[in-house]
Symmetry: C2
Subunit: 120 residues, 2 copies
Amino acid sequence: MRADMLTAVLSELNGTSADIEASAVISTDGLIMSALLPAGMDEDRVGAMSAAMLSLGSRTSHELACGELEQVLIKGDKGYVLMTDAGENGVLTVLAKPNARLGLIFLDVKRAAENITKLL
Amino acid sequence: MRADMLTAVLSELNGTSADIEASAVISTDGLIMSALLPAGMDEDRVGAMSAAMLSLGSRTSHELACGELEQVLIKGDKGYVLMTDAGENGVLTVLAKPNARLGLIFLDVKRAAENITKLL
């Protein structure tokens, strides 16, 4: 089952680092394909905000001569949102703690995104 | 002259790293206060895209429980766009090369944003 395999990738990712609080695979039009979110966090909201950020991020990247969008990172005072391209059809969104080690998160997320790309 | 002082901060920032290709200080409503951009890059476009990204980034950060927006990073295959909060009224937007050392860029940009905050 592909849905189970996606969830397994997210479960492994969330388990890799205590800094990762949530993760989700989202279609490029903002629909959730798989999600491991904290209780109380709305799937649809994560999907919708991810799709909106990626759409505008892609336009910004092109307009400012930075080419094809690969990643968007949002840093807030209470945490990070990291959205990473996962092939043509998917996006991996990860929520991390404010003091997360970004270098490790980038590495783990990149690996997970490659695995998701193969599954979609 | 405040405009000259802003330009001096940007000039120092661009000179700090060969990876930084352009920088600009933008009001939170998207108007350019000072900019050091490559020839052919439109100031208004940089201002407009920065303001749009920050507005949506702020909303995303709040909606996904990450608090007040501090920074937005866009990674494209041809470079980075980094937008950093510079006080209540300003935003520092920096364009960097695709292979830029992000750790150094974050450090230099943080210092420049602090200096800009004092000037605005």
